[in-house]
Symmetry: C2
Subunit: 340 residues, 2 copies
């Protein structure tokens, strides 16, 4: 089979790779229906994370079960499935607490490279969620989005404890930030402020439920949020970038007693204990336990309540994966969907 | 009147000071019934916080209303009152959200020095809570404890979102940590692990509801907590010290998806964003909004449900305030109560 391999910063190649096989009896192998490029892939593509050897890439996927190991009980070949980027047994103490991305037996599915024609999924029973029927083609982008960005945006809102009537600000207008707008709306936020300076993303944010858009950043952005919230800050702020600047913007835009949910993978972020103390802001982040949300999110997609697939504004054949990276790196595309 | 003044590290003097007066029409002046020395006073006494000029000291108090300003509506001379170390209007947006220590008009009551015979209380209506009747002498230490340490321990548990059935670890065996044990128990924790290596404090922790005591600290302490919690960590950890070491111990003793409530005033604490991210731990701290909890806490004291006054293991005349500081500095006393 063929798949994407990152050889060096800026150098993604689509090349022949060994077919994935069942290794453990709890594995499944799926035939990819769609995959995509994640904002977090760009950290490596841009050389911010070191690339030490040719590395199969990608960690988002939907597909058809092709083969299952002898211990897999809930899946059968042919089913359409969605899964998270971390495989989880979904039975350990951390999974039972709803933190499948901290499963005591977790494995990074992306280690095998999901921008490929086939993918090995460890701990298949605990990782994959099958749709009740074969989904309509129109639902596939949104189901794929649930595999990471929609699940991650959802977690941002859950980690920030968004509740009915809240004023929520979203820092970051990438696919995760845009999906966080959807999540805030679904969880009952009354006012949703998208922080974005890109017209196409502002437009999509409004379509997803943003009531306001703030183009300012940094101190100016914080001042704008305070102006809009009687001087005290937003009830909840969803940090969807991962830089020191974006985290500071998030923390300082939140009212005393409010919460920041942070899902941007941190790069160079240190939080001053004294400032956090006097702010009274609550803080929780992490790799989103997407598996916990998948059944609900899949249902919301299939019933037409949410349509996070709109974040894909570029669709390319998987063979052109290098073009997809380029388009996202240059911010010509919000998110690129790839079809084998 | 006379009161305590910190002249330099280690140099507390009881001396004649100007009588406090009504300055704003929202002020009250109270005659002190009891006051005490706080663990946080020791940061200054030990010279860790600089002492730049002779400073009236102390921020915990109960007393009798002596005089009220013309705008004070809810208080009358003679009433027995308890208040927080921060004066708050109890009507602004932050107060309404339950964060009176971030009141938009807050003033630090301790600025006037509460280890004194009389105290000026700004924003009296929003700051002071009167008891229904004159309390019995036996309740006064516990009511005084509510002014700070009991309210602060309570906030640690609230900030950590302690709920019924939880396993809670408490880092710090000072008066706040011991009161945090009471709070965890009252909020329904099933297992309460007090981290302490001092026999008298261990004993009081058990009396307050601790089910287990762990004497180890640092990495050994973290390992002990994990051993006791099926390898994952406690559901909630209450950080009641404020050092980099105690914060790290708290964060690393908490399970993924659990919470740390931190109430020790941070000294040199920086939190690594990446570690916090992958831990999935939620974090909230701050100066406790004691005012929010006072009516409930006073009720729990007067009905005999809680007895936080037991943290006072030394009672001295206010004139001997210097001895009280020495005893706490040398850890001969958990907390010293002072009577004018």
């Amino acid at each position: 089979m063929r798949g994407a391999v990152l050889h060096a910063p800026g150098d993604v190649r689509f090349e022949e790779r060994t077919d994935p096989k069942i290794i453990e009896p709890t594995d499944a192998v799926i035939r990819t229906a769609a995959t995509c490029v994640c904002g977090s892939d760009l950290w490596d593509y841009r050389g911010i994370n070191p690339v030490e050897q040719p590395t199969p890439f990608g960690h988002e996927y939907v597909g058809f079960v092709e083969d299952v190991g002898s211990d897999v009980k809930t899946l059968t070949p042919g089913q359409f499935v969605i899964g998270s980027f971390f495989a989880s047994d979904n039975t350990c103490a951390n999974c039972r607490n709803g933190y499948q991305t901290n499963c005591l037996h977790r494995e990074f599915v992306g280690a095998g490279g999901c921008q490929a024609e086939k993918i090995r999924i460890p701990l298949a029973d605990g990782t994959l969620v099958a749709t009740p029927d074969q989904p309509a083609a129109e639902h596939i982008p949104s189901l794929l989005a649930c595999s990471d960005v929609m699940g991650t945006g959802w977690y941002a809102a859950v980690a920030a404890e968004v509740r009915s009537g809240d004023t929520v600000a979203v820092v970051g207008d990438g696919a995760v930030g845009l999906c966080a707008v959807i999540a805030a709306k679904e969880l009952g936020a009354e006012r949703i402020i998208a922080m974005s300076r890109h017209e196409a993303r502002q437009k999509l944010a409004r379509e997803f439920g943003a009531t306001d858009v703030v183009a300012e950043r940094g101190e100016d952005g914080i001042a704008r949020i305070k102006e809009m919230t009687a001087g005290i800050g937003a009830d909840r702020v969803l940090e969807c970038v991962g830089t020191a600047e974006s985290m500071q913007q998030a923390l300082r835009s939140t009212r005393p007693g409010g919460n920041v949910g942070f899902v941007g993978v941190p790069h160079g972020v240190a939080i001053d204990g004294t400032e956090l103390f006097y702010s009274h802001v609550g803080l929780r982040g992490g790799p989103a336990p997407v598996r916990a949300f998948l059944p609900d999110l899949v249902d919301r997609v299939l019933t037409g309540r949410i349509n996070p697939g709109k974040v894909f504004d570029l669709t390319l054949p998987l063979a052109q994966v290098a073009d997809a990276y380029r388009a996202m790196d240059e911010r010509r595309a919000i998110k690129a969907l790839l079809t084998p």
